[in-house]
């Protein structure tokens, strides 16, 4: 599948934003972090900033952005519509939660409950995003049981790491224990990603050029002539191919540069005094950001759509 920059930016940025807001809600309901106004201002500013950046960039690839409101109507059947509804709804509890924290200096009681509702709606929104992809039977790489956990754990990790940076900056004593949670999320992301890639290699249930044409009884099917001499929308949108050795190199970058290296940095940060820990966490966040962008690029680039069977592929 063609890896459109707008969709990569949308899914990674909004994932991190929702992850950050969700963690703020969790910490508030558990009463683990005081409603420091400065921390709240920056944390919510960053969280909402990323979410809005993501949502705006997702409308870039629409043919008619001005009609985007129509996408809220078909939640009964469409995950894309459900994502829209969940995203709009999430602004309500998370907005009130943020106001309570930043304006009133409160994140306890009713505000903590709002925070919890905000967390749950953040999770639901990210889950809907994942399901848009996971529900497409035409793309085996996405129609995988690992797609949903991967989106959720990566949102939790990226949002969590941003929060870790902020907790460190504000000298919150929680930074230490929360660092351990972030390390666990790194491990979980690594595991999910490896399992996801392993499931990709298994092509047992693939559609084939034979099933696509129904001509398998007559022998092995291959494309003799494409319908037109030039490329078309389908080939541009779904025919994107990444060379195997590039894909392998990029996977290694995701694993080592994007996940293992920031893991080590966060781990080192736990041992370092205040400022050192913050620097380590900031570096880790930059590496993770690059890693997740590459991971999301690969998620598209490595996904083969069954329509390619009509354009020369033998299995998809």
């Amino acid at each position: 599948m063609h890896p459109a920059k707008s969709v990569i930016l949308f899914t990674t940025a909004s994932g991190a934003g929702y992850g950050l807001i969700a963690w703020l809600g969790v910490l508030a309901i558990l009463g683990l972090v005081p409603a420091d106004r400065g921390l709240g201002l920056i944390a919510f500013g960053l969280g909402f900033g990323l979410v809005v950046l993501g949502l705006v960039s997702s409308t870039f690839h629409l043919g008619h952005p001005e009609r985007a409101w129509r996408a809220l109507s078909q939640w009964r059947s469409s995950w894309l519509s459900r994502e829209g509804v969940a995203a709009v709804f999430t602004f309500l509890p998370s907005g009130l939660f943020a106001l309570g924290w930043v304006v009133l200096g409160r994140n306890d009681g009713a505000f903590a409950v709002l925070g919890l509702i905000a967390s749950l709606s953040c999770v639901a929104t990210v889950a809907c995003t994942a399901m848009i992809y996971a529900s497409l039977k035409t793309i085996r790489a996405w129609h995988s049981p690992w797609t949903l956990p991967a989106y959720l754990v990566m949102a939790a990790l990226s949002g969590g790491l941003l929060l870790l940076v902020l907790l460190g900056l504000w000298g919150q004593p929680l930074a230490g224990p929360f660092g351990a949670i972030v390390l666990a999320l790194f491990a979980a992301t690594l595991a999910v990603k490896l399992l996801y890639w392993r499931s990709l290699a298994d092509m047992d249930d693939a559609s084939t050029a034979e099933s696509a044409t129904g001509l398998g009884d007559f022998g092995k099917v291959s494309l003799l002539e494409a319908p037109h001499s030039e490329s078309n929308y389908l080939m541009q949108e779904m025919g994107f191919q990444v060379a195997r050795r590039h894909a392998e190199r990029l996977r290694r970058f995701v694993l080592f540069g994007g996940l293992a290296a920031p893991f080590v940095l966060v781990l080192a940060g736990l041992a370092l005094p205040g400022a050192g820990a913050v620097v380590a966490a900031v570096l880790a966040a930059l590496l993770l950001g690059a890693g997740l962008a590459v991971e999301r690029w690969l998620f598209f680039a490595e996904a083969k759509h069954v329509v390619t069977l009509y354009y020369g592929e033998s299995r998809a």
Partner: protein, 250 residues
């Protein structure tokens, strides 16, 4: 409403395409483009049509496949493909706006260009590559089964079939009600073991394909000796022949 019709009627209009007969002339694709660029989903925009890299929206495209059996005997199959007007159309259920819908009365799958936001998700959900995005209009386009032709009372009755069907010079395309087991198309499908494409995708397409008939004569027993490759002989060709060859291959 992008949910599939709750009470689908018995009628399922669709196409039956005879792969034994199709000669791959692309006439159906051309006439489809011709009719539909003024039809329900008009226009079928082209980009750079006379330039170096032309592209554009087509509802119907003809692929050609080679099928080689275990003995190395091969055949060419021309393979027209357009929307199969699936019963369980995933393109309809994924649509967030309600722009894509399946008609209750005849099962035709259409796009409402007024409501489409151009998110392209339906084209990702379709296994058959039946939906093409119109960059200019910013909306999705697809085969309408010539909904503006098949019910058109201004046309003589025999013309009330999709443009591809009326134009096929070989008679490889049939149109009718595949929901009625006694319709001509249904009888044809039954007689020729017509099949659905990629049933494993679970879309329950309505259109059917008729398989090529067994070859009357196998290649090696036909008594026709294979032609010797021309290239090897070129050196021995006469001077005039070589000159003609040079002139022609300029």
């Amino acid at each position: 409403m992008t949910s599939l019709p709750r009470n689908p009627g018995p009628t399922k209009l669709g196409l039956v395409i005879d792969l034994d007969i199709c000669v791959g002339c692309h006439a159906c694709a051309v006439n489809c483009k011709e009719w539909n660029t003024g039809g329900h989903s008009a226009p079928l925009t082209d980009h750079d049509p006379y330039g170096a890299d032309p592209s554009g929206v087509w509802f119907n495209r003809i692929h050609s496949f080679e099928v080689v059996d275990d003995d190395g005997d091969s055949r060419t199959v021309h393979f027209p493909k357009s929307c199969l007007h699936c019963d369980d159309a995933p393109c309809v259920t994924v649509c967030p706006t309600g722009a894509s819908y399946k008609r209750e009365e005849d099962g035709i799958v259409l796009v409402n260009a007024e409501a489409c936001i151009g998110c392209k998700l339906c084209s990702w959900a379709c296994p058959y590559g039946a939906r093409e995005y119109d960059e200019d209009a910013g909306v999705m386009k697809k085969c309408t089964l010539c909904v503006d032709k098949i019910y058109n009372e201004n046309l003589p009755e025999r013309s009330r079939v999709p443009a591809c069907v009326s134009t096929c010079p070989a008679g490889a395309r049939h149109f009718g009600d595949l929901g009625d087991p006694d319709s001509e198309v249904s009888l044809l499908v039954a007689a020729r073991d017509g099949y659905a494409l990629m049933p494993e995708q679970g879309c329950a397409p309505v259109n059917r394909y008729l398989p090529p008939r067994p070859k009357a004569v196998a290649a090696e027993s036909s008594g026709v000796s294979a032609l010797a490759p021309v290239a090897a002989e070129a050196g021995s060709a006469g001077m005039l022949a070589r000159w003609v060859d040079r002139m022609l291959s300029r």
